[in-house]
Amino acid sequence: MIKKVRRPPAEPAVSGAAISIGRRRLTLEIGPLLESQWTGIPVFTRRLVESLVRSGRVDLSFCFNLAEIPAPKVLAAISQGTGSFLRQAFEEHAHEMNRMVDISCPILYPSVKTAFGACASEASTIHDISTLVMPENHEEANVAYHTDNLRRELATDNMVFCVSEATKAALETYFPSVIGKTSILYQFADWPEAFPLMERNLPRIAIGRYAIVIGTIEPRKNLSVILRALALPEVEKSDLKFVVIGRVGWLVDQLLEEMTPQQRERLIFSGFVSEFTKYRLIAGAEFMVYPSLYEGFGIPAVEALSLGKPVLAARTSSFPEVIGRAGLYFDPLSASDFAAALVEMESPAKIRELSALAEPQSRQFGWQRMAQPVLDWLDES
């Protein structure tokens, strides 16, 4: 007997309304949201979805590898803050529930593009080109994933979104053929509204004075400059600790193994923490230290700024653009330059001066600014 499989009706667009005049259609590839723990690109994707929904000017549909994913499931995952259930539902019910995307509709990839030239109009997002210009800091599989098809990706894009001017400049230097079809897609920091209240009801974190460092622990994050500076007299005599948030990544085993007891006293590794714990740790810090050699954007810096914390950052890539005057900068390869900047940053007057600039700087980046370039592209498509 042939069993009839009932195909569910097509899910409505996010807005819940039929396609309306003046609204543009867009398919958003949400592969990053299928991950369980959202950091980095999944969070960027989540913010992009929310920005476009808030704009009210797009009829959004979602897909993964050109298979449509019902909008309510995506929005449910966003409210849950994890892609675990979304991935499970996608894998278990793909054969009976999923439909192919409408290829006449423009498609936007928030990260690496997976299908080339499949849709009428295509855009992808370049976060950074570190896998191309500093491959030694990545595992080979990661380099291949990001760079093997980059050429094809760019060639088939009608629009290439770059997460910062620095990323745009880097991309255009290495792929001049993209000049003229790039646009900046800045993201922003957003904390759940309940966090300040929740924080207020808890005791202060009992670590003493500390600076916060955020990011997966890997060579590009350049923790070694802090370790080297700890041996310098001006840093050694300070009682400031460094709380490092982030999981242990790749190619850093040796660095961690070789840490001295003195260094271990000054560096506290929290591992991966929840958003709320991260919020608490940033809020309790004197300032943020961001020693990375290279970042596409550097969202932790904006998160710190949004909580009034200035940033002591490497003078590289996107940092001056993102942090502006609310921070101090140092040469990321010079421990003595870092030490000098750290001493300056520790001065109460300097912290006060920069803290006043921090929150206004973070407001440069908001959901409207994130949505606008996508809307502009859709208007032109």
Binding site: L132, V133, M134, P135, E136, N137, T147, D148, L150, R151, S164, E165, A166, K168, A169, A170, T173, Y174, F175, P176, S177, P219, R228, L293, Y294, A314, R315, T316, S317, S318, F319, P320, E321, Y329, D331, P332, L333, S334, S336, D337
Partner: protein
């Protein structure tokens, strides 16, 4: 050559083990840093070149991080008018500095992993080579779509052999079933002295590179030389083990690379110590070839770092031969010009694939 001075970017893979004073530094700051021999030689060459021309030389680590806005402005301020950037590339990437004239020195194609990485990189980012003004000591061509692009080759050559120092000699013995056994027996054999070499008047010298050892056609050519060496009572074949890449690399490890290449190529060699064949640990000094009663022949693989030897070095050889694969990345005429300039005369270019075909034809005719 670089009238407004030169900033040289270093390969990041080698820099991982270095502790630098900052992103910009002087060549003297590299004293005592763990550099490979080839990188050290390349830096010495650039230092010599700039000093001779009275031009400024500055080194930079990670130029890619100063790409935009304030960080780029800071870099430009530090460069203070330097208009040329030379990337010392290990093949894993090619660094560009926007706004400067970019040049490339792919300093060690003799290391197989570098060559593989280089091919992969230019495949991934084909628009990069088109932005290269000059290529130092290579004559590569690149394609972008249907177009071919060849940066201007520029010869930079050392005035003195680097590294100087006495080469060690070992007997040649190959157990085709075991590199380890071959090395053990070579190491156990009595050491060969330079006096032993003095007894021979007809010397063929074949310095290997790691890439040459993985080139089966080249290895088969070497096997022919090994077999031929035994036929001449005064003939001596000296095989140069690939040069050590890291400080920890030992002569035994470098000999292993050479022997493994010969085994992999599938040719048959007698399992015996051959009195007319030796292996040596480093580039042989020109004095070895300087004796008036000697006829010397040099056979180089196309990836041999010819720029590490001065022109007078090549003058010692009666015959110069470069073996390579046709259709490789080098432009044939341009590389011949470059080698002719380096050697003081046009070397014989031996296409190893053609050599193989010729050898097969001869065999068929003989049969």
């Amino acid at each position: 050559m670089f009238p407004t001075g030169l900033v040289v970017s270093l390969p990041s893979r080698e820099m991982r083990a270095m502790i630098l004073p900052g992103a910009l530094f002087q060549i003297a700051d590299l004293a005592g840093q763990p550099l490979s021999g080839t990188l050290r030689a390349a830096l010495r060459l650039l230092d010599e070149t700039c000093r001779d021309a009275g031009q400024r030389l500055l080194l930079i680590a990670r130029p890619e991080i100063f790409i935009h806005g304030d960080s780029r402005a800071w870099l430009m301020q530090q460069l203070d008018g330097i208009g040329h950037h030379l990337n010392l590339s290990d093949g894993s990437t090619i660094q560009l500095v926007a706004g400067l004239r970019n040049h490339l020195f792919f300093y060690n194609p003799g290391l197989c992993r570098n060559m593989t990485a280089f091919e992969r990189f230019v495949g991934r980012a084909p628009e990069v080579p088109a932005q290269i003004g000059m290529q130092i000591n290579t004559a590569f061509t690149f394609s972008i779509g249907q177009s071919l692009y060849a940066p201007q080759p520029l010869l930079l050559q050392t005035k003195n052999l680097f590294p100087p120092g006495e080469a060690e000699y070992r007997i040649f013995y190959l157990n085709p079933n075991s590199v380890a056994d071959s090395i053990a027996r070579i190491e156990a054999a009595p050491r060969i002295t330079a006096e032993y070499v003095n007894g021979f008047t007809d010397i063929t010298y074949i310095p290997f590179t790691d890439t040459a050892a993985s080139d089966a056609s080249f290895c088969r050519l070497v096997v022919k030389h090994i077999l031929a060496a035994g036929q001449l009572p005064k003939g001596m074949l000296i095989l140069g083990a690939p040069l050590a890449q890291e400080k920890r690399d030992t002569f035994s490890e470098m000999m292993s690379v050479l022997l493994a290449g010969l085994i992999r190529c599938g040719a048959v060699l007698p399992r015996a110590a051959l009195p007319n064949v030796l292996i040596t640990s480093s580039l042989l000094d020109e004095d070895v070839f300087a004796r008036a009663d000697r006829r010397c022949r040099l056979v180089m693989h196309e990836t041999f770092e010819f720029w590490r030897c001065p022109r007078r070095y090549y003058e010692r050889f009666e015959t110069l031969c470069v073996a390579g694969r046709p259709g490789g990345r080098h432009d044939r005429l341009a590389i011949i010009d470059l080698l002719a300039e380096a050697c003081g005369r046009v070397p014989d270019i031996l296409s190893v694939e053609e050599e193989q075909k010729a050898s097969m034809r001869r065999r068929v005719l003989d049969d």
